[in-house]
Every structure is written in structure tokens, then in C-alpha cells.
């Protein structure tokens, strides 16, 4: 796997925006990026779940990435995209403001996240990537699927 990458210790991340902030997530975790499309609202869903949609016959649970990271909510607009990811057999679409370029980065140059961040966000970060002119927060794909206990999916499912 890794040998196909350009650098042995390199990593390709999919960049995306939430408001003014830049984020990135391991590109291997992102199955595809799609437009928002027709979504169906699910009343009673836990906070952050904005609805469901059909993706080639699969039901995708749509999660507002901003809400999920404790950064407010994604505003609906034409640049909105869904990062489609899979976790334990379920298909998720993370709603983000916009998707940018893929960034190739060297793993050993990822800095630890700033400790003054909101702990909820901090727990989901793998590190910070500084390029010449911008800072990208790299998300930990695994931590992304740890849901806030209070938002109500535990126990029953």
C-alpha cells in the first residue's frame, strides 16, 4: 500500500473547509466526494445528523462535520460537499463547506495540535500541517467515528 505513495512516510490527505478553517483527512479514508444532492431530514436524529440520502442504492447517514467537531453548523451553499466514508459497514457522508485539493504531506512533519483547542475537537485531531501560507488541521479518521455519548446513539443500537 504505502509503497505506491510518492514518499514512504508520506500521506495524502483530502483538504476541505469548514468556515474559515482548513481541514484534512487521510484520503484513503474518503471513498468519494459527492455533491449534497437530495437529502431527507430525519426528525429526532441525534445532533449533527442532518439527514440521509441515497448513494447508488445505499442509505448514507449525513453528518454535519462542523457540528460534529463543535464548530457550529455548515451553511448550505453550492460548494457544499459530502465526504463519503465507511465505518463498520455503515456509509456516512460528512457535510463540509467545500472540498479543496488533495495535499501530500510528510508524516514526520505533522505537528501536534495546539493544546488550547476545544477538547472535543482536540480529540479528533491527528495533528497540524503547516504549509507555506496556511495551516491545515489533520483529522484522525478513526476518532471521527467516536460519537459524543450525550447525543444519543448509545445503548440501543
Amino acid at each position: 500500500m504505502a509503497s505506491e505513495d510518492e514518499f514512504d512516510d508520506g500521506m495524502l490527505v483530502t483538504g476541505f473547509a469548514l468556515g474559515p478553517a482548513n481541514f484534512g483527512i487521510d484520503a484513503r479514508a474518503v471513498l468519494e466526494v459527492v455533491k449534497v444532492g437530495e437529502m431527507t431530514h430525519v426528525h429526532g436524529a441525534p445532533q449533527g445528523v442532518v439527514g440521509i440520502r441515497n448513494l447508488r442504492g445505499r442509505i448514507v447517514t449525513l453528518v454535519d462535520m462542523a457540528t460534529h467537531l463543535g464548530l457550529g453548523a455548515v451553511e448550505l451553499g453550492p460548494e457544499n460537499r459530502l465526504l463519503i466514508m465507511e465505518h463498520r459497514g455503515d456509509c456516512y457522508g460528512f457535510l463540509v463547506d467545500a472540498v479543496g485539493d488533495a495535499i501530500a504531506l510528510a508524516q514526520d512533519r505533522i505537528e501536534p495540535p495546539l493544546a488550547n483547542l476545544d477538547p472535543a475537537l482536540l480529540g479528533k485531531l491527528q495533528g497540524i500541517w503547516r504549509d507555506t501560507d496556511r495551516v491545515t488541521a489533520i483529522l484522525d479518521p478513526q476518532a471521527l467515528f467516536q460519537w459524543d455519548e450525550s447525543s444519543g446513539t448509545n445503548g440501543i443500537a
Binding site: 437530495e38 437529502m39 431527507t40 431530514h41 430525519v42 426528525h43 429526532g44 436524529a45 441525534p46 445528523v49 439527514g51 440521509i52 440520502r53 441515497n54 442504492g57 445505499r58 442509505i59 448514507v60 447517514t61 453528518v63 448550505l76 463498520r88 455503515d90 456509509c91 456516512y92 460519537w147 444519543g152 446513539t153 445503548g155 440501543i156 443500537a157
Partner: protein
């Protein structure tokens, strides 16, 4: 997933399949006793063996050890060294149970404690060991199997090997090995391996070689050797002679003799090519589709295991190890076991798969056709393609559904064991009758059924069937019968769990419920035996005298019911004390594709399964006030003679109700909180629908706007789906009905699975997603309770408690003149007509109007009472009613409204002819009209027949006991009765009525009672009257304003003779007359 994981998974699945059938087989074997069903024993043996083999490969030592021990015992059974009995079966069953646990959790299996089981199995085999040694037949059988796996795992050598080793040592060796003079533990391929090879039409060979001599010395490397073999053959087993190699102190060994058993498609003529470096006699033919022709095949090895048949020579018989060893006919190849219910893989009939392939091909063809048609713009061709696709799709759907159908035996199969174990531990004799094993159900349903059915079976054995002594004492056979049967019935599957035991004792159930505070004594009085039996579904009710570990854990039937509800199943109880109980479950055939009604609400579309839908209603604004009432704090729907709870979908799911403003075309928030609010404070909704729907706030942002959401044209109509959960029926107010569709159920993701109101999602024709509503889940979320029967009585009792001080009345408010507020009980009003003053015709002092082609007599309050005349008013209304068998209209004027409230009616202050009393309604003193009195005085001639009846009644001296808690109604009904010549004894509640009756048993000829009363309800009173022999034959009429079907049935069961509406004087009197006269003829006199 790496290869090993995949292999392990395959092993686990295969083992599960083996285990799934073992239990039933063991039970059959036990039943057979000494008369061993050898096919079955072999089958179980093979299963244990293959589990043992696989577990050794994966290093699952515990599994291996247990499987091996079981195998040993089975082998002794097979060779008739021991005969099956309960003890052996128990130990084996326990061992296989543990195996199942460990197989399902391979990681944890190593830490499992199997010491007891191993000891149990060992003691079984060792206890019979002397017998084994003495048995003349076929020594060393167990050993030869032990070695198969044991050779590769020197540490795991089982104890029974000791016996084996000796046997092996004495056996003849093949020629080429004789020179070595060393011991090599010979082995034969296992029966299972041979079986498998045979099934695949493969040849099985044993290869004798020496790793040093034949390989190393010839410059071949070991890995290459195995790889070469692996490409064309399957290595079934392999053994090295480690004895030859010796210890460290010895000189380095110059040979490592080895044996391989391989299965391959290469026939005996081709096989030497694979082992070109070996002399031909090192290849030994063991088994294959065709007997070997070449004379070079050595038979020596065969004889090592099957000494006694050595003389049989190299014919086919001698190579059939299995047969040789046991002298058995060749076992038929094992039927593939059906997958157990909890797996995520499914076995599918190959024929079905072929059909699917064909259909897929058809689909591709059709797609091509569509492409061509589109390219050419050929409409006709497109139409034909569409037709074809349609056909293929439905067939495809059908076939795919079939692949999901599994025999219910997947669940039933475990019951023989369950019943056997339970009855044994409880000391009961039970015959299990299983029917309809082949009934196929959707896989999801099969999985969901397992727990509820198990529980019901446990209940039947534990609580249902009596002990043999009890049974004999009751004149029954000492052995009880528990029957579980499945059958198809009208598109559903019916599963029945029945026993011929003691039945459900309604008294004990109700006592238990009472003791645990699950039900009030008052409520119990009104319950029939069937109701009391249904109490078993109450959470927390367990009637087991002793809480056993079997089923008396206080959780149970309520969980069963909940589980069945979730599956869309319904359960009913048929039980007779002393005779037995039957629990009947009705289930849909499948859950994967369900016909559904698509509806929309709150700008989303939803699917409601058709199976839940009873009927669809559209209430026009003018119907709403007639059909929607408030009981307690809930809306209820009056549907024919039923009262159903009414719920708003948007309220339950927490969406904001919206509508499209017809003027601005914007989506607006619907502020109507409750349906029933529409008719208050002003009954104007019908004319000005938007008055109550204040357009406010910004338009709700929506992602999608269903076309059906426009409510223009029927702005305030209500669309109601009457839905059934299996336990209750309720009305669900939805936005708009759309079409019905067959929807494919797709599960929601983990983040949404906990939402009980949705059972899944489906993709609609336009590609968008609709949620599928879970009708029972919605009811639970909305806090809906069945208004039927007991629950409703309870609700009403609570309400009644709060309202005790005052009676609730439903009144139609109207004006007699601008300042005169009047009211008429709503029950009496059939219709309201708006008329013009000119329509009123006068003939002398009587009025009438043309109405529906007839002349409708009209009365006004001013005809008898000191109130203003009404003719001068402009906006007249006629309240159409009937009295003395004639249709009659009461004149009033607008505005008209309906109020349902606690109203204290003063029957003195304003009492005059035609006015029964007055009440303070919304700050106005309101006169309550007495229509009957009014009509009697205006049209006295209508009363003639009644007069005759009255004279008759008077002469008969008939006494009526009247129980009614509402002062107003009591006074009204008393008056009617007295006017008709009856003598009336009136009581304000059931207790008082009973006291009166007890004091006057001789006089009272008939009882008229309200249902809901403090202290003792009408049903309770009825039950008491029926129970007392002095009064048991008295006719009882129940008067009620609302009578649901269930209530009528319940009333009948409690002893109510007839139901009558409270204020329908004619009907009530007619009924009292006929019943009292009947009574007079038969009793009094």
C-alpha cells in the same frame, strides 16, 4: 482481511453448520437407544472430527480437545462399545454447546474452562474402556483418528492413543518401509476427507516418501515440493516419522520418512507425472471415482487399519476405509445443513442462483434495448423495453425474495433439546409435536422469532404442563403434549405454541397483577376471563409459584409481545383452565419488500407499511368537529362505533407542521396545535380556514419540497391513516396521501438505528429517500395507549377522578335571540341547517319548513317557555333532531358552537316547560333546552302510542333501578322513565345501586346503569348482579354516550343485556319496555 482470517471465518461458518444439526441428531440417537442409527452417529462423528481438524490448524487447543473427546465417545457409540443413554447424551450435548460457544468466540475460546466437560467425556470413555478392550470388533479405530491430527501436534496427544499405538505397531508395514525398521505412526485419511473427495469426484492417494532421500538428496527443495503438489492436489494430511530422527545425542538422521494423503483430479494413470522423482510403488491409491486399473497399487497400507479384511484384496471394497471399518453401507453424502439463523451468510439453492443469472442476463438485454430505443428515438421500442424490464424486475424481486426465505425449522430445530432438558429438570413428561418445519419465512423474521418462541416454549413446559401426578389426578395422560406448528394462512404465517396443560388461570393472573399493583381492583371487575388472560403480557407479571431459572424471571411475555410487535406479528391467547393454552402468532411472510403507502408530512415523504393500515380517511372541515373529540387531554377519532386515539405524525416525530399559504405560496408554520382546537373558541374554521393558522415567522428552509405538500384546496382537511400496531388501532394524521409502492426496506445506519419511530428507509422512484414509519414505535413514542378495553377504562377513571365534582357535557350552543344563550345536548342533534326566515311556514300556531322533500315540523323555545320569540331574527338555524319517532327541528340563531366541558347544570333556577335547567357557559347563563318536553307539548298527538304504553306500564307496576353518577343525566333519564309510567329507584353510583337493589330485590324488574361511575362501575355492578342468584336473571341496560365495540363486548361479557345511548329517549324507553315486559312474563307476575 488476510488469508488466515478468511480461512478462520470459513472454518467458523462450517463448524456452525455442523453444530446446528448435531443437537437434533443426538436426541434422535438417544431415542433410538441401543438400536443405533449409524448414519446419524457417523454424521455427528464427522462433524466433531472436522471441527477437531480445523481447530488444530488454527491452534484452538480448547476446541480441539473438546472436539476430540466428543469424537472419542461418539466413536465408541458408533462401534457399539457403549449404547446411547441420557447420561451420555447430556454430556455430549453440553460438550457441543460449549463448542458452539467457543466457535462463536474463537478469540475467547482459549480462556474457556472446559475441564469439567473434558473430565465428563473422559469418564464416559474410560468407564467403558474395559468393554472396549473386550470388544472383538475392529481395535484401534479411535486411535487411527486420533493420530491423524495428533501427529502434527505431538503435545496434544490424546489419552486414548495409548491403545492405538499398540495396535498400529503390530500392523504390517509396506514394503518400502520395511527396510527402515523404524516405527512410523501410520494413518488413514479420515472418513470425512474421503467423503469430501468422493463428492468432488477426486482421487485420494497416499504418497510415501523420504524427505532426505527423495527430496534433499535429489536437490529438490521442500517448499517447492509442497507447492508443486498444492497446485494440482489438495493435501489432506501429512505425517512425519519423528521417531526415526531421534534425539540430540544420536547421529544426525539420514532419513525423514513422510506420508502424505492427497486428493486430486489426476487419475491413477496421470498421477505418477506429479511424482516423477518417486518410484511408482510409493504412490498408493486409496479411493476414487473409478477403481484403479494399474496393478502397481499397493494394498498393504490399507490393511494396517483394516486388518480383518486384508483377505479382501485390492478390490474396490478394500479401499473403502469407512465401509471396511464398520461393515456399514456407505453413508449417503451428508445433506448440506441449513445455515443457522444468526449468520450473515446464506445458503442458496443453485437453481435459484441460475434463475438469477438468467434474469440478470435479461436485464442486460433490456438495457441494450433501451439504449437503442433512446438512440433512435423509437417510442414503441422504448415501450416494449419498459415492459420487459418491468417483467424482469418483478421476477427478479420474486426470486431474490425466495433466496431470503428460510425454513422455520432453523428455529424449531432447537426445541426438541430444549423441551427434553427442561422436562427432565422439572420432572415432567412431555411429548413434543413439531409441525410445519418447512414453512419458509424471511430470514429477518426467522431471526426475530427465535427468542419469543423459545420463551413461549419454556413457558409451555414450565408453567403450562403439569407434573405427571397432577395430570393423573386431573384425569389426563401423565405425559403432556407441547405442540409447535407453523402454517401459511392468507398471505401470513401462523405459528402456534400450544400445550394441553393447566391453562391460564384468569383468577391467578389477575390476583398477581393486583398484588403487584399493575392493575386496580376496580378495573378488574370489568374484565372478562380473556382480558385477564391477556394480563400475562403486562410487564412485570410472573405467576410462577417459585421463581425458577426456567422462565419465572418476571420478564417474559411482555418482552415476547414487544418483540413480536416489532416483527409486525400479532399474538392471541386461546386458553381454557384445565385444558391447555394456545398462543397464536400471525406474521407477515417477509419484511424485506413491503407494499407501502407513501405519505407526506412536514415536507418529507414517508412510507407506511400497508400491513399496518386499516383504512384511510379524509375529514373535511365540517366533519372534523363531528369526528374528532377530546378525551382527557387527547384527541380521539370517532370512527363509526369506535373511538381511536388520534396522533399527529409531525408532533410525534418532532417536526414543525407546515402548510403552503395559499396567498403567498410560502411554506408556513402551522400553529394549530391540536385538531380539536379548530372548533373553539369560535366555530368558524370551516368558513375561514386560515384564521387559526397564523402565518408567522420566516419560511422554513427546506431541502426539498414534495409536490404533495401543497394543501391548497383542502387547507384544513385532515388526512388520517387508521393504523394498527397489532395491539391497538389509532389514527395518524398525516399531511397528504400519495401512491402505494412496493418499497425495499433498507436499514438505517448506527447513528439512527435507535430511533424507534422509523423501521428503516427506502429509495423512492425518483431516487430520493423516504423513511419507513414504524407504526408500533410511533405509538410508543407518542405515548399512545389503546383506548380499548382496560386501558381506556383506566384513563377514564383517572379523568373521572378529576372531574368528579362536575359532569362533562357536550353541548351545542346557539342563541334564541341576541341576548339569550341556549344549548342543547349535542347527542340529540342530528344536523344543523342554516335557513332564511322566509323558509319558515306557519299553519295556525305550528311551524314547519320544506326539508329534503318533506315537511319538517319546527319548534321554538318560545312555544313553551317565557323567552323571546325568534321569528324576527335573520340568521336562523334549525337543529334537526327526532322525538317520539318524528323528525323535528328546533329553531335557533347563529352563532353556533360546540363545547365540551365540565358543566354544573342547575336544574331549579330556570326550570320551566321546555327548559331543563341552566348552566354558566363562558360567562353567560345558558338555558338548556328540553327538546322532548317541548315537542310533547307542541305535538301532543305524537305521544299517543307512548300514552298507551305508559298506561300498560303503570298497571304492571314496573320498577327500574337507575344507576348514574351525573346528576343531570340521572334526572333526565329518571324523568323519561317516570313519564312512561315506570317507578324509578335512582342511585348515584354502583355501590348505592347495589344497596338499593339488595333492599328491593323483589320489586326491581330491570336495571339501567351508566358505565363510568365512582366506587363501583356499571360493569362491576353488572358482574355483581349476575353473581347473586336473587338477581342473576335481571335485564341490565347500560347507558353510555360513547360505546366502542370492545366495550360492548366487554359489557356483554360482564352481563350487560343491552347498550343504549344516554339521551336517546325513544330507544332507551323502547328497550326498557321490551326487556321489562319480557321479564314480567317470565318471572314477576
Amino acid at each position: 482481511m488476510d488469508d488466515n482470517d478468511a480461512l478462520l471465518k470459513a472454518f467458523v461458518e462450517e463448524s456452525r453448520e455442523h453444530l446446528a444439526t448435531i443437537e437434533a441428531d443426538l436426541l434422535v440417537i438417544e431415542e433410538g437407544g441401543a438400536d443405533i442409527n449409524e448414519d446419524l452417529v457417523n454424521k455427528v462423528f464427522r462433524a466433531a472430527h472436522s471441527i477437531k481438524g480445523g481447530s488444530g490448524f488454527f491452534g484452538l487447543e480448547n476446541v480441539k480437545q473438546l472436539a476430540h473427546k466428543s469424537e472419542t465417545v461418539l466413536d465408541m457409540l458408533r462401534s457399539r462399545k457403549i449404547s446411547p443413554n441420557a447420561e451420555i447424551t447430556n454430556v455430549l450435548l453440553a460438550a457441543f454447546d460449549q463448542l458452539r460457544v467457543m466457535i462463536n468466540d474463537t478469540r475467547g475460546s482459549e480462556s474457556a474452562d472446559i475441564a469439567d466437560l473434558v473430565a465428563g467425556l473422559t469418564s464416559l470413555s474410560s468407564a467403558h474402556a474395559p468393554a472396549a478392550a473386550l470388544a472383538p470388533a475392529l481395535p484401534g479405530v479411535a486411535a487411527s483418528h486420533g493420530t491423524g491430527a495428533g501427529t502434527l501436534n505431538p503435545g496434544g496427544g490424546p489419552t486414548s492413543l495409548g491403545n492405538a499405538a499398540a495396535t498400529v505397531d503390530t500392523c504390517a508395514k509396506p514394503d518400502w518401509r520395511a527396510t527402515s525398521g523404524e516405527k512410523l505412526p501410520w494413518f488413514v485419511p479420515t472418513a470425512a476427507d474421503l467423503e469430501k473427495a468422493r463428492a468432488r469426484a477426486k482421487y485420494v492417494y497416499r504418497i510415501h516418501c523420504d524427505l532426505i532421500e527423495d527430496l534433499e538428496n535429489k536437490g529438490r527443495d521442500l517448499a517447492g515440493f509442497f507447492h508443486d503438489i498444492g497446485t494440482t492436489a489438495e493435501i489432506l494430511d501429512c505425517a512425519l516419522d519423528t521417531g526415526v530422527i531421534g534425539g540430540l545425542e544420536n547421529a544426525p538422521a539420514d532419513r525423514v520418512p513422510a506420508q502424505l494423503v492427497i486428493a486430486t483430479v489426476l487419475d491413477p494413470e496421470l498421477i505418477p507425472a506429479l511424482f516423477a522423482f518417486l518410484p511408482a510403488d510409493r504412490i498408493e491409491f486409496l479411493d476414487g471415482p473409478h477403481p484403479p486399473a494399474p496393478p502397481w497399487v499397493s494394498t498393504a497400507a490399507v490393511t494396517t487399519a483394516a486388518g480383518p479384511i486384508k483377505a479382501a484384496g485390492p478390490g474396490p471394497g478394500s479401499v473403502d476405509i469407512e465401509n471396511a471399518r464398520n461393515g456399514l453401507p456407505k453413508p449417503s453424502s451428508p445433506k448440506p445443513a441449513t445455515a443457522s439463523s444468526v449468520e450473515d451468510t446464506l445458503r442458496v439453492n443453485v437453481a435459484l442462483l441460475d434463475t438469477l443469472m438468467n434474469l440478470a442476463g435479461e436485464l442486460v438485454l433490456s438495457r441494450n434495448q433501451v439504449r437503442a430505443a433512446v438512440a433512435q428515438g423509437n417510442g414503441a421500442m422504448l415501450a416494449s423495453a419498459e415492459q420487459r424490464i418491468n417483467q424482469v424486475t418483478s421476477e427478479l424481486q420474486d426470486v431474490i425474495m425466495q433466496t431470503r426465505l428460510q425454513p422455520i425449522n432453523n428455529v424449531f430445530a432447537k426445541f426438541p433439546r430444549l423441551v427434553r432438558d427442561l422436562s427432565r429438570s422439572l420432572g415432567k413428561e412431555i411429548i413434543l409435536d413439531v409441525q410445519g418445519k418447512d414453512v419458509a419465512l424471511d430470514k429477518t423474521l426467522i431471526e426475530g422469532l427465535s427468542d419469543p418462541l423459545t420463551h413461549m416454549m419454556r413457558n409451555a413446559v414450565d408453567h403450562g404442563i403439569e407434573s405427571p401426578e397432577e395430570r393423573l389426578a386431573a384425569g389426563k395422560a401423565s405425559a403432556g403434549t407441547v405442540r409447535i406448528a407453523a402454517r401459511y394462512d392468507a398471505g401470513q404465517v401462523v405459528v402456534e405454541v400450544a400445550d394441553d396443560g393447566k391453562g391460564l388461570d384468569p383468577q391467578r393472573l389477575s390476583d398477581a397483577a393486583l398484588r403487584k399493583g399493575l392493575i386496580t381492583a376496580e378495573k378488574l371487575l370489568g374484565m372478562s376471563d380473556g382480558d385477564k388472560q391477556a394480563l400475562i403480557f403486562l410487564p412485570g407479571l410472573s405467576t410462577a409459584k417459585q421463581v425458577s431459572d426456567v422462565s419465572g424471571r418476571g420478564v417474559g411475555m411482555d418482552v415476547v409481545k414487544t418483540n413480536l410487535d416489532r416483527l409486525g406479528g400479532q399474538v392471541e391467547i386461546i386458553s381454557l383452565v384445565g385444558k391447555g393454552s394456545t398462543f397464536r402468532i400471525k406474521l407477515p411472510l417477509t419484511l424485506a419488500i413491503i407494499p407501502s403507502l407513501i405519505i407526506s408530512a412536514a415536507n418529507e415523504r414517508f412510507a407506511i407499511p400497508q400491513a399496518n393500515i386499516e383504512e384511510l380517511l379524509r375529514l373535511r372541515p365540517e366533519d372534523i368537529k363531528m369526528r374528532v373529540e377530546v378525551i382527557g387531554d387527547r384527541d380521539v377519532l370517532l370512527l363509526r362505533d369506535r373511538i381511536l386515539p388520534l396522533a399527529h405524525l409531525v408532533d410525534i416525530i418532532g417536526a414543525v407542521s407546515t402548510y403552503v399559504d395559499p396567498l403567498t405560496r410560502r411554506v408556513e408554520i402551522d400553529r394549530r396545535v391540536r385538531v380539536a382546537d379548530r372548533r373553539s373558541p369560535h366555530h368558524k374554521l370551516a368558513e375561514t380556514p386560515l384564521e387559526a393558522t397564523v402565518p408567522a415567522g420566516p419560511a422554513i428552509p427546506t431541502f426539498k419540497r414534495g409536490a404533495g405538500d401543497r394543501r391548497r384546496g383542502s387547507v384544513s382537511s385532515l388526512e388520517i391513516a387508521v393504523v394498527n400496531t397489532g395491539v391497538m388501532t389509532y389514527g395518524l394524521v398525516v399531511g397528504t396521501f400519495h401512491e402505494t409502492e412496493e418499497v425495499v426496506v433498507k436499514p438505517l445506519g448506527r447513528r439512527l438505528k435507535h430511533l424507534r419511530e422509523y423501521s428503516g428507509a427506502t429509495i423512492l422512484g425518483d431516487g430520493t429517500v423516504a423513511l419507513i414509519l414504524d407504526i408500533p414505535g410511533l405509538a410508543a413514542k407518542g405515548g399512545l395507549v389503546p383506548l380499548s378495553a382496560t386501558t381506556r377504562a383506566q384513563e377514564l377513571a383517572v379523568d373521572a377522578e378529576a372531574l368528579r365534582a362536575q359532569d362533562t357535557h357536550t353541548l351545542l350552543l346557539f342563541r334564541n335571540g341576541p341576548g339569550e344563550h341556549c344549548a342543547l345536548p349535542l347527542d340529540l342533534v342530528q344536523r344543523i341547517e342554516q335557513i332564511k326566515p322566509a323558509q319558515v311556514e306557519r299553519l295556525g300556531n305550528r311551524r314547519s319548513m320544506q326539508y329534503r322533500g318533506n315537511s319538517l315540523p319546527l319548534v321554538a323555545l318560545s312555544d313553551t317557555a317565557q323567552v323571546d320569540g325568534i321569528e324576527q331574527e335573520e340568521n336562523l338555524v334549525v337543529l334537526v333532531s327526532s322525538a317520539n319517532g318524528h323528525e323535528v327541528g328546533l329553531l335557533g340563531c347563529m352563532p353556533v358552537d360546540v363545547i365540551e366541558d365540565k358543566i354544573d347544570i342547575d336544574q331549579n333556577t330556570h326550570r320551566q316547560k321546555g327548559i331543563t335547567g341552566s348552566a354558566l357557559v363562558r360567562g353567560h347563563t345558558t338555558l338548556i333546552a328540553d327538546l322532548y318536553e317541548l315537542v310533547d307539548s307542541v305535538f301532543p298527538e305524537w305521544g299517543a302510542p307512548r300514552e298507551a304504553r305508559r298506561a300498560h306500564t303503570k298497571s304492571e307496576q314496573i320498577t327500574v333501578l337507575l344507576a348514574e353518577d351525573s346528576d343531570f343525566f340521572r334526572a333526565q333519564v329518571k324523568k323519561y322513565l317516570e313519564e312512561d309510567g315506570f317507578k324509578v329507584l335512582a342511585a348515584p353510583d354502583g355501590e348505592a345501586a347495589w344497596d338499593l337493589l339488595s333492599a328491593n330485590t323483589e320489586d326491581v324488574s330491570i336495571v339501567v346503569t351508566d358505565i363510568e361511575m365512582p366506587r363501583l362501575t356499571g360493569l362491576g355492578l353488572a358482574a355483581r348482579i349476575r353473581a347473586d342468584e336473587r338477581t342473576s336473571k335481571l335485564p341490565i341496560i347500560a347507558v353510555t354516550s360513547l360505546a366502542a365495540e370492545e366495550d360492548v363486548a366487554r359489557g356483554k361479557a360482564a352481563g350487560i343485556t343491552e347498550y343504549q345511548a344516554k339521551l336517546d329517549r325513544e330507544q332507551l324507553l323502547a328497550s326498557v319496555h321490551s326487556l321489562a315486559v319480557l321479564k314480567g312474563n317470565t318471572h314477576a307476575g
